[in-house]
Symmetry: C2
């Protein structure tokens, strides 16, 4: 533990606590100071067992309740973009990490400290490196190395969701489609085969594609199949012999990655398709009693989650999970990210009501 | 003049002279040594007036003939590619510049030195920096600064053409076609417009395009319209808002650059088209008496020239011009470039017969 870690006062209101957290800069890979502060503040609570693993901090109650729930949030942010320190206006807290996701972390910390006897046992998980490459992800590390810490009947990931419940998440897959040709001088183009021209049909299939909109547990998921990169070319006077189209498929959680891959290969039948990246979705799991009870208790609208989030890690562990946190997810990673005070307060009161 | 310039013996056979020239490396920008050697060898001929301008050397007869012809070749080569010094096998001389175009330069030098009284006045032009950006081109420099040196009834550019006559040359134009969209997270693709998908129609038009094959002076020119580069993409999870297709149009010399541009704009009507590069073609001009006489004298097949060459500079000065030199143009710029002895000998004997 470094001496530099400031004291966090978990008894102040959640907005002020959010602001304290925002002003402890914690770009991915540099979470030690904030993890130290979180660890120390939680260790001061006699009703919590606190476990430190790298820059991940886990705190849990042991009340012998019939159910255990995980409440989780990541401590890191994307890189600084001239958006620290925080600033407040009448309705919003502005600054790096305010939306994604220190508002949610503050609510979890406040709840951990001030609700010593929740009606369900709770495992609070604060983790590092969510905003960078998957292999560094702190929740991934815990899931692989210490899965017993994540064992639960239900999980709440406090990613921004406008203080409502966003259930499950879609899967994501990237594939490269490569067309090939034969080089020739462009002054004698009939001697070659233009690989860029060969990509016309790939793009035409993308244009003609009709994404599915399956309804799962009453939620409509909207898929998407999109080129995210295209590249090809050798020189200004040469017919190119290769063109690469990188396509991102966002698929509803009723499809496994294997089914998603089979589908993409069918769409691009006849082409050279290579999967470069893939992450499964997470079913909303709203039919599980703990999840249904949560949705009923918080009383909000339930929406499907389109973007991929760490809820899928819980799903992979057999733990139904939802996203539920303050802030608009469309503002995540924006320079002007911000979080409404009202969202923070609403999220906290709903969570507290459910656990009381 | 540097002391390092070797003596060139213009009385040896043209193959040996080609080899001497190849072994004087002369990558573009480093032509001083070869230009010194050429200047000195020509200055030793009492029947020639020799003019040096930078690393360009002009030598001309003043016999008061009814016609004047230019015989021209560039002294530079593309960069070294582990292909020096030269080497000989039974049929070919191998090495950097052997094909492009020191075989032709050797024939011109031999003719200049050993034919003191040609039946037409001749202006021999040896120039620098043909293989690099147009603004450095030695022939361009002479055409702009000393056009009187290039005044003639007819010009022969000794670029490789398999010892036959390749007449005129096609023009070339590059345009960028940019499609635009609107960025969005790929998990919510319905919020945006994918600019790469928008390029499908551009590629479809290229695929559907039927190039012209106009016949000019009995020669069929084959045009071509080809994508040479394509690029687009922001991040693996973002719908791109811009996609750029770079297209190279090779157009027959019956079209001016202005007509070529209008045609390309018509093909891509509705798109944002920017011309990035353009060079006019050159009409074969075979109906001009001097040209017709040359073609008849050398007795070879006449073919159209597809690639752009400096003949278009003569064309722009009102001087009909053809390509006529030893070597296969398809071997130019290749590591294993080479020239057949037979081509060098045939080119020389044909040129000498025409001028005798």
């Amino acid at each position: 533990m470094t001496a530099a870690a400031p004291d966090l006062d978990l008894t102040v209101d959640a907005v002020r606590l959010t602001q304290q957290l925002v002003d402890i800069g914690s770009v991915s890979g540099e979470e030690q100071v904030i993890a130290d502060a979180v660890e120390r503040a939680l260790a001061a609570q006699p009703h919590l067992e606190v476990i430190r693993d790298g820059d991940n901090v886990v705190a849990r109650t042991h009340l012998g309740r019939a159910e255990r729930v995980v409440i989780a949030g990541h401590l890191d942010t994307v890189p600084l973009n001239d958006n620290l320190p925080s600033r407040r206006d009448e309705t919003h807290l502005h600054g790096l990490g305010s939306c994604d996701m220190k508002g949610g972390v503050a609510v979890a910390l406040r709840t951990a400290a001030t609700l010593p006897e929740p009606n369900r046992d709770v495992t609070y998980v604060f983790y590092a490196c969510e905003e960078v490459e998957e292999v560094r992800n702190g929740l991934r590390h815990l899931a692989r190395e210490r899965p017993e810490l994540l064992a639960a009947d239900f999980a709440i990931l406090m990613e921004p969701s406008n203080a409502g419940v966003e259930a499950g998440c879609q899967g994501t897959m990237r594939v490269d489609i490569v067309t090939r040709g034969e080089r020739a001088h462009s002054a004698r183009s009939w001697m070659g085969v233009n690989a860029i021209h060969g990509a016309a049909e790939v793009l035409a299939r993308l244009n003609a594609y009709e994404p599915r909109r399956p309804v799962i547990d009453g939620l409509e998921y909207r898929e998407g199949l999109n080129a995210v990169f295209v590249s090809g070319g050798v020189a200004g006077n040469v017919l190119p012999d290769e063109c690469r189209v990188s396509v991102n498929y966002r698929f509803a959680p009723d499809r496994s990655p294997e089914e998603a891959e089979a589908h993409v290969r069918e769409v691009f039948a006849g082409y050279d398709v290579t999967v470069t990246d893939s992450a499964p979705g997470a079913l909303p799991g709203l039919s599980v009693p703990a999840a249904a009870a949560f949705v009923e208790a918080v009383g909000g609208e339930v929406a499907p989650k389109f973007g991929w989030t760490d809820v899928s890690r819980f799903s992979a562990l057999g733990v139904p999970a939802v996203n539920f946190g303050p802030g608009d997810p469309l503002l995540a990673h924006k320079q002007d990210e911000r979080v409404p005070y009202a969202d923070i307060e609403l999220t906290e009161s709903r969570l507290r009501a459910w656990l009381s």
